[in-house]
């Protein structure tokens, strides 16, 4: 068994992992990234469309370009990366943590570190998770798997496609499949509003004349060996109208029904998860309840843009480095999701420094107001022309607004 020793290890070499490692190296500590695929970049590599990098690189890049730029920075930082290594286990015997990484090239790696940043990303929810009944023919794929097959492996998974769920990957795949010569017969969304970004609705559906069925439940997938049709039923006034159900003939179903942070390894380590995000609870240093274990990116909560992932992971990496050097969280205030807010991350902040929070709302609304309250006193109020659950909202808390916070003070964020 090969033994390695570093100040910190980052699990996952996507945008979050590389960004966290950059900051750990910038603080002068040694750092290794363990990545299960053969390349750094994670899911970015299959996102060949544009729309990334406006914040991190100040220009619009494709996914692979963003990954490449990150990797250049990462390589220049002097951090190490082991590729094709799947971390199966983390032991926490006390002073140091021990990671076991499985690899064909290196055998089993035993990596001893002082701190760990979790950056494993998320996985797609699948048919079983949303319990679509019906037959089990070939031709049902998650949108991300289809994206991988088309963009990286060069295969077309099918020719007549129905997309279930209006998440961003599904919308982007509607366009991608159309470009590849397939016919996309519709995108079916159970909610009355789309789950993906507005720009994707316009650019991927409207521009291609693909119908979007809002407020429709997918009531069945049918077919023998291969998918033959999908049955959908409208939802009216909160009730599914099964008598109005109809079938859309197709040979392929792509599912874009949400993403789940991939925290099975975290749970094994004793990391506690927030049921609203399925990601770890973190404190003002982005640290989980397990001392020395930090989290950032989609493993913490599902982001809509990679630029936010990178920004958040930089903060986590920097905090991890400070923690290794002995800094501990000072006084912390609890952050509470108030009216119309699903969650805010992180859920604790230190009042002495500026804090950036990401949150998601539960509602679709024009002319909304984002309100931050400290113990029921409004300390920040901002107009938001439009809010919807699919678009993440960020808010920065000014230390001077938090100056008179008491030991039991709570910050509440509301969308009104």
């Amino acid at each position: 068994m090969r033994e390695l020793s570093y100040d910190a290890a980052v699990i996952g070499g996507g945008a979050a992992g590389m960004a966290a490692a950059l900051e750990i190296r910038a603080a002068g500590l040694s750092c290794v990234v363990l990545e299960r695929e053969e390349h750094l970049g994670g899911i970015l590599l299959q996102c060949v469309h544009n729309g990334f990098g406006l914040i991190e690189f100040d220009e619009e890049l494709s996914g692979p370009e963003f990954a490449e730029r990150m990797e250049e920075k990462f390589r220049a930082s002097g951090a190490d990366a082991y590729l094709g290594v799947t971390v199966m286990d983390v032991e926490d015997p006390g002073d140091r943590k021990v990671l076991f990484g499985y690899s064909a090239e290196h055998g089993i790696l035993r990596v001893s570190v002082r701190a760990v940043v979790l950056a494993m990303g998320c996985r797609e929810r699948n048919r079983g998770n949303i319990r679509i009944p019906g037959a089990r023919p070939a031709g049902v794929y998650t949108a991300g798997l289809a994206q991988r097959l088309v963009n990286m492996e060069g295969y077309l998974p099918g020719k007549d496609v129905v997309i279930i769920g209006s998440g961003d990957i599904g919308l982007i795949m509607a366009r991608r499949m159309s470009w590849a010569g397939a016919r996309v017969h519709g995108v079916v969304e159970i909610l009355p509003y789309p789950s993906g970004l507005t720009r994707n609705i316009v650019q991927c559906l409207h521009d291609f004349g693909i119908p979007l069925y809002l407020s429709h439940l997918t009531s069945g997938i049918f077919g023998g060996d291969r998918v033959e049709s999908v049955e959908i039923a409208p939802i009216e006034d909160g009730a599914v109208r099964f008598e109005k159900a109809f079938r859309i003939p197709c040979d392929t179903v792509l599912l874009s029904v949400g993403l789940v942070p991939e925290n099975e390894l975290s749970k094994k380590m004793g990391v506690e998860l927030n049921p609203m995000t399925n990601g770890p609870w973190t404190d003002s240093m982005m640290m989980t309840n397990v001392p020395g274990i930090f989290a950032a990116g989609n493993v913490l909560h599902v982001h809509d843009l990679v630029d936010y992932v990178a920004e958040e992971a930089r903060r986590a990496g920097a905090a991890c480095a400070r923690w290794i050097r002995g800094e501990r969280p000072g006084r912390e205030l609890r952050v509470k999701a108030g009216p119309n807010v699903r969650y805010a991350a992180p859920c604790r902040v230190g009042p002495e420094a500026p804090n950036k929070l990401y949150l998601r709302t539960l509602i679709v609304k024009n002319d909304a107001v984002l309100e931050v309250r400290l113990d029921n006193r409004v300390i920040q109020s901002r107009k938001k022309p439009h809010v919807q659950p699919s678009e993440m909202i960020s808010v920065t808390l000014d230390p001077k607004d938090l100056a008179d916070a008491g030991p039991d003070s709570t910050i509440e964020i509301a969308i009104l």
Binding site: R123, R127, G128, A138, L145, R148, Y155, E264
Partner: protein, 482 residues
């Protein structure tokens, strides 16, 4: 499997249907100096009823001693330990509890207990509420009492079949998949069996273990005319991370038609709930329905309240071949050298090793000469699984074959080497690889590993992309190259 031509003369025995019955019969016959062939119409073995069932080694108390199936159930259940030692399929005697939620159900429990005692079940006991909750702390606290059968167990049904078939093959049995026996005629003392695609072979004895299609096979041979009907059972599978996993198989008190819906802690660590029981006219109908799945959740929660729909990773349905109340295992009275193994519904999996023994004796009575084979080897070589071993054992294994270090399926911890082993054992569809290795069977349901398996499959078999299927037939996965 089995690209060989059928040259070199007639077979002594042709077994039609490579489910759990056909596989047990084939392996039992592989101990003798016989030329045996196991046929199946599907692309792989165990692709019918045997792949979608509860995977229970039953407790021997559900059926009256007047039935053949009760006798074979108790005998079969006792044979599992030895088979498990020889073949290494996943199996554990975790015990079965039957939970009564109302006082009036205790009358039925009492009847089950007496039936079990009559059937000769070892260790069966009646339980108070306290004993039930001690045996299974996750049970509904409203449980009033029940039954405990400590010898009941759990098994992974398809891997049970795979290992039986592999053992039979190692001992000389030929296996031919994608062979649908459509017609047969007598040629002297032989049966000439013709497949849909024109292939044919001849055999002295035929065993009809064709499950749902045993009626069609029987008619094709001019034997008795009967009708197998299908009774569909739907299931939910829960993630191994669920907090609702019981320690034992939990049964409700049965009704006159069904053993009821159970909560099964599968041998691989997940939880299975179901099945429903509904007659259907379409033998290929394995569709699940929203209403039935809601019913399963409700029934399962009545016994184990911690069951949550958030833990569901997939649902599926299987079909039981229904003929009559009892198993129908006997030689045809109409045509020679033809044995029916039909209507094998629950407890068919449990009884199947005893069915192998029973059919071997029927063949002997029908004149088949059984001479023991000197080189018969009942033991399958151990096939390592990354899931089962610690980091140090894993390190040694990867040093031997680096492909063990390449984790293809992260949810179920399956390495490239295990995928390759499945392919080399003849499992060349995505479903075949799934049932053999568990890759694609975990919480992501193949979201991350499917494309990796596709590539390994193409590399190992030389198949082109358009020949890769989910489960054979027209279940192709890809429709074009970009």
């Amino acid at each position: 499997m089995g690209s060989k031509n059928f040259e070199g003369g007639a077979y002594d025995v042709a077994i039609i249907g490579a489910g759990v019955c056909g596989a047990n019969i084939a392996r039992r016959l592989s101990q003798y100096e016989l030329k045996v062939i196991l046929l199946d119409k599907e692309a792989d073995v165990s692709f019918g009823t045997s792949k979608a069932n509860s995977g229970i080694v039953h407790g021997g108390f559900h059926h009256s001693p007047k039935y053949l199936k009760a006798r074979l159930e108790v005998q079969g259940a006792l044979m599992f330990d030895r088979l498990h030692r020889e073949l290494g399929f996943p199996f554990r005697r975790c015990g079965i509890v039957v939970a009564a939620l109302h006082e009036d159900e205790m009358r039925v429990v009492d009847q089950l207990y007496r039936q079990g005692v009559e059937n000769g079940v070892i260790g069966i006991e009646m339980c108070s509420r306290e004993r039930m909750l001690e045996l299974e702390p996750k049970l509904n606290p409203d449980t009033v009492g029940g039954l405990y059968a400590p010898a009941g167990g759990i098994v992974e049904p398809y891997r049970f079949v795979f290992s039986l078939v592999e053992s039979a093959q190692r001992n000389g049995v030929e296996v031919r998949t994608s062979f649908k026996a459509e017609r047969a005629e007598r040629e002297g003392d032989l049966w000439r069996i013709r497949a849909e695609d024109g292939a044919s072979l001849s055999a002295r004895y035929v065993v009809n273990a064709a499950g749902l299609f045993a009626d069609e096979v029987s008619r094709a041979f001019g034997a008795e005319d009967y009708t197998i009907r299908a009774r569909k059972g739907e299931y939910y599978l829960l993630d191994r991370m669920t907090r609702a996993r019981p320690d034992r198989v939990v049964f409700p008190v049965p009704t006159s038609v069904s053993k009821g819906m159970l909560v099964v802690p599968t041998v691989e660590g997940t939880v299975l709930i179901g099945p429903t029981a509904e007659m259907t006219d379409d033998k290929s109908d394995t569709a699940t329905t929203r209403e039935r799945l809601e019913m399963i959740l409700g029934n399962a929660r009545a016994m184990i309240p911690a069951i949550s729909e958030n833990d569901v990773i997939t649902s599926f349905a299987g079909q039981r071949p229904v003929l009559e109340e009892d198993f129908h295992i006997e030689p045809s009275g109409k045509v020679p050298a033809f044995i029916h193994v039909a209507g094998i519904q629950s407890p068919g999996l449990t009884a199947s090793p005893a069915i192998g023994e029973y059919v071997k004796d029927l063949l002997k009575e029908a004149g088949l000469r059984l001479v023991e084979k000197p080189g018969y080897d009942p033991v399958l070589p151990d096939r390592p699984r990354m899931f089962d071993i610690d980091h140090y054992q894993a390190d040694a294994l990867v040093a031997r074959d680096p492909a063990y270090g390449n984790i293809v399926c992260r949810c179920e911890k399956v390495s490239e080497a295990e995928i390759v082993a499945a392919i080399r054992a003849g499992h060349t569809t995505l479903d075949g690889i799934k049932y053999f290795t568990r890759a694609q069977m975990g919480r992501c349901q193949g979201g991350f590993c499917t494309y990796k398996i596709l590539k390994i499959l193409m590399r190992e078999t030389g198949m082109s992309w358009d020949r890769i299927t989910k489960r054979g037939g027209g279940s192709e996965l890809l429709s074009g190259r970009l």
